[in-house]
């Protein structure tokens, strides 16, 4: 088989496998577990966005949970006050978080490395108190409760959702929704990192000095990366609000931001397929660790130990491992004979 034909075949098979897995996964999981799968999809979206910022642009953010809060609150607010249908709020939630991401990107121009990490972490830590303080918009500690205040706007409240004549349970719908958006987000991210913009990001990550002397506008590239990444986080937050049907300050604590960065690093910064692994890791590990023992403290101990062991064994995350496993194939495809 020629190299070109082999390359095309590999792609066709990969895409077909992904689409089949997406379409038929709910057949193999119960309604209850498809909710977990849906949640993994939401993590996936946020982590892909974080990877664009941290993995490809080199700007460490420990505050993406706060951007998810912006998205989640936008969705809940639009449902409660403007009576929008939940799914239609998602684009606006992404836009709102994108704008906030852009605004965070402005001070980020002056900060670098771990200073930026701590500044964004401060944003994540401060978010719950801010949400409580501005209770006129956010509902304070109570939060916003579409389930009580706008139940008619919730898709599938009756238990089933019908799309194009197929009816499915609400949790299966959430699965299709979050992974559907996740796949679209993945493709956009994939195209982005291969475009001029993506090359700009990577140039800036590898050396700001070299990038600026090559004519790259650092300020524009950095704020753009923050804004795009914010859109992903906002969409993920909107999906979380859609699933939980309630948002309050405790839905988006700084622990969420930490979970996201753990997912991105375990998945492998600078690798998009690795993010699937990262999302499943942060979704299922807490649950798995309660299986070891439910004695107080043991699940956390196991959770933390698992993170440490994975990082020691795979310092470049799952993405690094995938690259190594696929090397025989990629070498064959891309090197000149």
């Amino acid at each position: 088989m020629g190299r070109r034909a082999l390359g095309v075949a590999v792609w066709v098979v990969l895409v077909a496998l992904v689409l089949l897995a997406y379409a038929f996964a709910p057949r193999f999981v119960s309604d209850f577990h498809s909710r977990d799968l849906a949640e993994a999809g939401m993590f996936f979206i946020a982590i892909v966005g974080l990877n664009l910022l941290t993995g490809y642009t080199g700007q460490i953010s420990l505050g993406h949970g706060a951007l998810m809060a912006i998205g989640g609150y936008t969705t809940a607010w639009l449902m409660v006050h403007e009576h929008w249908r939940d799914v239609w709020t998602i684009p606006l939630a992404g836009l709102a978080a994108g704008i906030v991401g852009f605004l965070i990107g402005l001070p980020a121009l002056r900060l670098s490395g771990l200073y930026l990490a701590l500044a964004t972490f401060a944003f994540a830590v401060a978010m719950p108190s801010l949400l409580r303080k501005f209770s006129g918009i956010t509902g304070g500690g109570q939060g916003l409760r579409p389930i009580e205040e706008a139940p008619l706007q919730i898709t599938g409240l009756s238990g089933t959702v019908t799309i194009f004549g197929h009816s499915m349970t609400q949790n299966h719908f959430l699965y299709y929704l979050s992974w559907g958006i996740g796949l679209i987000g993945f493709v956009i991210a994939w195209l982005l990192v291969r475009s001029r913009v993506g090359r700009t990001f990577r140039a800036l990550r590898d050396s700001e000095v070299a990038a600026s002397s090559a004519g790259i506008n650092l300020a524009r590239a950095k704020t753009l990366a923050f804004a795009i990444s914010g859109v992903y986080a906002g969409v993920a937050g909107a999906l979380v609000a859609t699933m939980d049907q309630i948002v309050n300050p405790l839905s988006f604590t700084f622990l969420l931001s930490i979970v996201l960065i753990v997912g991105a690093v375990v998945g492998g910064l600078g690798s998009l397929p690795g993010m699937v692994v990262g999302a499943f890791f942060v979704e299922y590990l807490p649950d798995l660790s309660t299986h070891v023992s439910t004695k107080p403290g043991v699940p956390d101990f196991v959770y933390g130990a698992a993170i440490i062991v994975v990082m020691i064994l795979l310092p470049t995350g799952a993405g690094g491992l995938l690259r190594r496993l696929a090397r025989p194939l990629t070498t064959r495809l891309y090197l000149r004979p």
């Binding site: 000095v209 690093v265 959770y303 470049t316």
Partner: protein
């Protein structure tokens, strides 16, 4: 007089601020120690300090006096810090910075989980280290506990400074942090110097934990999380690579938070931390490397 300013209250609030700032300073110095030698922020620093505090609690519970437990705990924490570095940090020594940061996040969960596993999650208390009676200076009553806390925390920082400044081992570890390759060439065991840094950081953390706990009516395994946040803020304010900056930054922050909480009603207790963080962000925008940090130079 329509508006009489209460100078007594101001002086008291400043001392209270310095006392909390002093506690944050010990933990901030621990963070800076590790940042300087490895370029990593240790997110588990607060939890390690919490673990030390629980060790101190056990010792007191088994009949030690507070100060006996204090010094024994510092020694145990020093050994523990070295052990942690050897066990989980050394394997990722050459990995990307973020990988090491994630390891410290994992360590956060491990240490917190272990403490709840060993000491079951219920509230407990430590005896007061100092007399609770107030002392009057120039007509203003201060609590001895606050003054003692300031003295002990600054004393611990001064001892650490003396170690780095005046001992051969201190010189070697400063060299290892500054230029690992060159130090290796002149025979400094750089890897062990990193472990030493972790040990010292754990010991400093133990001091901050054991000063935090007695001031609270009761504490549990989440005792050090707010302290860690303020220590982060103090260290960033002063400059992450400057121990002096960490101390000054934390003390300034302590006074600032105390005064803001007292005099600005709108802030109250809810917004204290966010406002403090906003102030720091403002400082960082003017001086991106903190008040005392080394500015990064760029050459084109």
């Amino acid at each position: 007089m329509l508006f009489a300013f209460d100078w007594t209250q101001l002086a008291q609030q400043i001392v209270i601020g310095l006392a909390s700032g002093g506690v944050w300073a010990t933990l901030a110095v621990a963070l800076v120690l590790i940042y300087r030698s490895t370029g990593v922020i240790n997110f588990a620093q607060g939890e390690m300090a919490m673990f030390s505090t629980f060790i101190a609690w056990s010792l007191v519970h088994h009949g030690f006096s507070y100060w006996g437990a204090f010094f024994l705990t510092i020694a145990i924490s020093f050994a523990g810090g070295i052990a942690v570095e050897r066990a989980v940090i050394r394997p990722v020594e050459r990995a990307p910075v973020l990988t090491v940061v994630i390891v410290t996040l994992g360590l956060f969960f491990v240490v917190n989980g272990a403490a709840r596993w060993i000491w079951s999650p219920e509230t407990r208390s430590l005896p007061n280290a100092f007399s609770t009676r107030p002392i009057t200076v120039a007509g203003v009553a201060f609590s001895i506990q606050d003054l003692g806390t300031i003295a002990v925390s600054l004393g611990a920082v001064a001892l650490l400074w003396g170690f780095f400044q005046f001992t051969k081992l201190g010189l070697a570890s400063r060299a290892a942090a500054l230029n690992p390759e060159a130090s290796r060439l002149v025979g400094v065991r750089v890897s062990w110097m990193l472990a030493l840094g972790w040990g010292l950081a754990a010991a400093m953390g133990a001091v901050s934990g054991m000063l935090t706990a007695p001031a609270l009516a009761s504490f549990d395994q989440n005792l050090m999380q707010p302290v860690l946040l303020y220590a982060f803020a103090g260290a960033v304010l002063g400059g992450l690579d400057s121990p002096l900056g960490a101390v000054v930054g934390s003390l300034l922050l302590g006074v600032l938070v105390s005064l803001l909480g007292t005099y600005v009603d709108w802030i109250g207790s809810e917004l204290r931390l966010p406002v403090a963080l906003a102030v720091i962000l403002g400082v960082l925008l003017v001086r991106p490397a903190g008040l005392f940090g080394t500015p990064q130079e760029r050459r084109v």
